[in-house]
């Protein structure tokens, strides 16, 4: 058991290390560097050399990678391309805001998606299932920027309940960007519900057709007791990993939604950094998001190991 957890941990660490290597090499491989970005048209001759020397770009790649990576391990992502700001400070509030957004979406989305998915699965092919499943397909297929735009159209423009475009600084108190927060997390919640619900539904259908549910019926166990005691614990185990993927996606892939709503999170910072060719910031954000992705999946793996008696003692027996 412990050995298995260690193995997962090690694999996670290797993945994070690989990500850092990919990011570093990727940026290295790109034409131009921080100095060409800062100096733009003046990026030639002496000015360029000076800048590179100042930023330590003249040293070979490997030492630079080691310096960069050890910096990250200590929580220091270095300076922005312009050399004006510490990335760690720039990113701090953005991480908080993105976490807030994710937390908002998850706290509503997870319980709701499990509820709806279970209902759709139990009443398979009835109107309630058709309604939910069609809704899920719609929610999954309509692009985020479309649903976001429609929400703005309805709630900001037609109903006027929230301001349409706001510009809130990243370090504002959470209450100040509450309107953006509500709309953005609604879009994300819808999308998330669609994905998790479909998975829960098919899992519930599988489990309800299993031998042990049939046996419980033939043991005289009342229907709802079967659902809650025999079926759901088994149906929801595989959902853990799907939820983890969704969480990871919420942390990193919500670029579009943050841009549409002008939400001061990591995603928008990423787009701004790319537009401004601020590669150190891009690297930093990518590292944070990738580490979160790996971490969340790791937690899910370990959680399902702990919750699934089959996996748990399988490991014990083989020892």
């Amino acid at each position: 058991m412990l050995a298995l957890i260690f193995r997962r941990l090690a694999l996670g660490l290797i993945t994070v290390w690989l990500v850092s290597a990919i990011i570093f090499l990727g940026v290295e491989a790109l034409p131009g560097d921080a100095c060409t970005a800062i100096l733009e048209r003046d990026a030639h001759g002496e000015a360029l050399e000076k800048c590179r020397a100042a930023m330590g770009l003249n040293t070979p790649a490997l030492p630079r990678y080691i310096a960069w990576a050890t910096g990250i391990l200590q929580g220091d992502f270095g300076l922005t391309a312009s050399g004006q700001e510490h990335i760690s400070e720039l990113v701090g509030y953005r991480v908080r805001n993105s976490l807030l957004l994710a937390a908002g979406a998850l706290s509503v989305g997870i319980p709701l998606s499990i509820l709806l998915g279970t209902m759709a699965g139990l009443w398979r092919d009835r109107w309630i299932d058709i309604l939910f499943s069609t809704g899920a397909i719609l929610a999954m297929t309509i692009p985020e920027f479309v649903s976001a735009t429609v929400l703005i159209l309805i709630f900001a423009i037609w109903l006027g309940w929230v301001p349409a475009i706001v510009l809130t600084p990243a370090d504002a108190r959470p209450l100040e960007f509450f309107p953006e927060f509500i709309l953005a997390s609604t879009v994300l919640t819808l999308l998330m519900i669609a994905h998790i619900m479909r998975m829960v539904r098919s899992s519930v259908i599988d489990v309800m057709a299993s031998d042990y549910v049939q046996m419980a019926t033939l043991k005289g166990v009342p229907y709802w007791r079967i659902v809650f005691r025999h079926a759901l614990p088994n149906a929801l185990l595989p959902a853990i990993n799907v939820i983890a993927l969704t969480v990871a996606w919420l942390m990193g892939g919500v670029v579009v939604v943050e841009v549409v709503f002008n939400y001061p999170g990591l995603g928008r910072l990423l787009v701004d950094a790319i537009s401004g060719r601020d590669l150190p910031v891009v690297q930093a954000i990518t590292m944070i998001v990738a580490a979160t992705y790996v971490g969340v999946n790791l937690v899910a793996d370990i959680l399902s190991l702990l919750l699934n008696p089959r996996l748990r003692s399988h490991q014990m027996r083989s020892r």
Binding site: L11, I14, T15, V16, L18, V19, A21, I22, G26, L30, P31, G32, I137, L138, M140, T141, I142, P143, E144, F145, V146, T149, V150, I152, L153, I157, A164, H195, I196, R198, M199, S202, S203, I205, D206, P238, V242, L245, T246, W249, G252, G253, V254, V255, V256, V259, G267, L270, V271, I274, S275, R277, V282, I285, T286, V289, A290, A291, Y293, V294
Partner: protein, 291 residues
């Protein structure tokens, strides 16, 4: 293999018939076909030049002249909507099969082979999957520009990575079966085992996966355009149109609604088709999410 060809096309015809027999399949395929036809013929049927501006008539509502009104530059929205899917369809229509092919083949080989190669490459796959969403695309596009020549290979590469995982998992299921053991025991080369024994058993999975990936790639493509990293103006593209018209949404909602409907119907069509295909092929159980 020649003996298999008629059998294969018969099966394809049967599958197509069964897909069309389902309401979701009929609706889905009709929508997709409609979009393909429009994309094909639109240059000859559009009422206006897509870049012809009319300063006198900006943000006009629907009228006899401009059925869907005009945008902020006075361009005809209908013409732009009809043309707006062409680039997306061409790019994703080529990039999706390429992604399925390389991801699928590599995944199947890894599934059969296992061992260290598998272990190492899967870690790399994990690492790529951990990169946030469309970031690699954004970076490459900012550096190399956003033409189809950049977008197509980039999309094909990055969308192929999750396919490796799916194909590998599908291959694992097949490899565990005795007919693979039988083929190995006879001494066939791995390439022949993949081609004759494994591939025919994973094509169903890859087909459904491909349809889903296509819709996700379309979503990604229009998101790029929306963010300003995709199709360059003044060429028409749905994502770009939504982005442009968003600002004038309160004045001219048609400018947003029309491309939104166009894009959504295409993606819904693909998804309904994929859904019906999965049900027809008996693969609808246990679908995984995002990635």
């Amino acid at each position: 293999m020649s003996a298999a060809t008629p059998g294969l096309s018969v099966r394809a015809a049967n599958v197509l018939r069964d897909v069309l027999a389902r309401p979701s399949g009929a609706v889905g395929l009709t929508l997709v076909a409609l979009h393909l036809v429009i994309a094909l013929v639109s240059p000859w049927i559009v009422p206006f030049d897509y870049k012809a501006m009319n300063a006198a008539m900006t943000l006009a509502g629907p009228s006899d002249l401009h059925w869907l009104g005009t945008d902020h530059l006075g361009r005809d929205v209908l013409s732009r909507v009809l043309l707006g899917g062409r680039e997306a369809l061409v790019v994703t229509g080529i990039a999706t099969p390429v992604a399925m092919l390389w991801g699928g083949l590599l995944g199947v080989f890894l599934g059969l082979r296992g061992g260290w190669t598998d272990e190492i490459l899967m870690r790399l796959v994990d690492a790529f999957l951990a990169l946030p969403g469309i970031l690699p695309l954004l970076v490459l596009i900012t550096v190399f520009g956003s033409g189809g020549a950049v977008l197509m290979p980039t999309l094909a590469f990055f969308f192929g990575i999750p396919v490796i995982r799916v194909a590998r998992a599908a291959a694992h299921e097949v490899v565990a079966r005795d007919f693979i053991s039988a083929a190995r025991a006879r001494g066939h080369r791995p390439f022949d085992i993949v081609r004759r024994e494994i591939m025919p058993n994973v094509t169903d999975t890859l087909l459904v996966e491909g349809a889903m990936r296509w819709s996700w790639m379309l979503l990604g493509f229009s998101a790029l355009s929306f963010l300003g990293f995709g199709v360059a103006p003044p060429r028409p593209d749905w994502g770009l149109m939504v982005s442009d018209a968003r600002v004038y949404m309160s004045l001219a909602p048609w400018g947003v609604i029309a491309p939104v409907i166009a894009l959504s119907t295409l993606i819904i069509g693909i998804n309904l088709t994929a859904d019906a295909l999965a049900k027809t092929l008996g693969l609808d159980q246990g679908r995984k999410a995002v990635v």
